[in-house]
Symmetry: C2
Amino acid sequence: MKILIIEDDPSLLESMTAALKKDGHVVETASDYPSAIDRLGVYAYDCALVDIMLPGGSGLDILGYIRENCRKTNVIIISAKDSLDDKVKGLELGADDYLPKPFHLAELSARIRSVYRRSRNDGDFTYRAGNVVLDPDTNKVTVDGKDLPLLKKEFDILAYFMQRPGHLVDKEVLAEAVWGDHIDQTDNFQFLYAQVKNLRKKLQESGADIELKAVYGFGYKLKV
Amino acid sequence: MKILIIEDDPSLLESMTAALKKDGHVVETASDYPSAIDRLGVYAYDCALVDIMLPGGSGLDILGYIRENCRKTNVIIISAKDSLDDKVKGLELGADDYLPKPFHLAELSARIRSVYRRSRNDGDFTYRAGNVVLDPDTNKVTVDGKDLPLLKKEFDILAYFMQRPGHLVDKEVLAEAVWGDHIDQTDNFQFLYAQVKNLRKKLQESGADIELKAVYGFGYKLKV
DNA sequence: CTTCAATTATCAGAATTTTCATAATATAAC
DNA sequence: GTTATATTATGAAAATTCTGATAATTGAAG
């Protein structure tokens, strides 16, 4: 992706640039309001990282400018810790994400990846089946709009099926996808059965209208 | 890799072939002793999967032939369940691995991958530091030749360091490597500290002469 | 329709991992 | 060298995942 970082702290700017270049992105930078507007007028960036506190103008103004003029540019707001106000304002003004300082570069990478995934699917990308919505970016599941908290394995299993609704999924394939390479010598799927059981229970109790059907001798299938 | 499968059951042969081709290998097959010997005389395979029960001669004879004539070909013996005798004989005759029937194709893939890794490092590949030896294929650690049982996370952490002895490893980098992408918003490394603590304890109690040194503000370093 | 073997489900307990509260230690500022 | 602050360590509790024993269900065979 082509990314513009708008940040006035030189050392932070440098490490962010290095990290994102390492991730394979094309990175440009601006350290103040006017040069940011300048760059935004020249290129169509896929994503802009905007620090709120900037010399010569608030980052929120830049956000406003981007939303007016660069429809396809995703914006991630960066701002001091605990500044909930910035967050609220930023998201109201149409930021795609919000990253409080201080943050880890790994976290930055993850947010960028998330923005990237979403941009490739124009907008907020989620999987839907019946009244269940699963968001792979935030790891959240809702049933009729209501949050359904799932444990990690349960979520991974459900996510796998919701990417292939109605499709028969072999037990081995599922195990490999969810548990990865720690599965070895597998003749025993108790760990899978246990997780399936708990997932089913939570789905049912939450009123979900989808169901994990066992297919004797093969695996499972998600039925709406 | 170029793989020769020597197996007389047609349906098993077919599914094995499909699975290994899907993994990107070049696969050839033989269903009996003479045609196996024939193929082995023509090509230098990276790996041969040899069923023990074959029409026209035992797979063990083929194993013997390969060990005599094809020095670089790895051999994985395949044989009926619980036939411990075959396993012992096979490994004595120089097989590289042993896979009891029935097996899962995922397991077969894993064994092949393991053979592949090992072949790329000519022979049994392990990491060593001081009196500690770590085998990434079998997930086993020994100290002065004595087994040191480690839990999964502990093993993963140690493995990461033993691949980079003496090298400073950043906490974030380590966390990402061992825990994968479930690490998000990480400002809190308690989970890491806890595992490091347990790993250190086991290393120390086992008499290992290596040590995980904390580097204030950054991470850890493995010191022999 | 029974019977049987194989597969899947369930529950509870065990093992592992993570979190919490708190202590110890390292670095920097004085 | 003290003091203050951030970082790392520790033990115990909590949460999660896995395992074992056992029950229920499925599909096939008689």
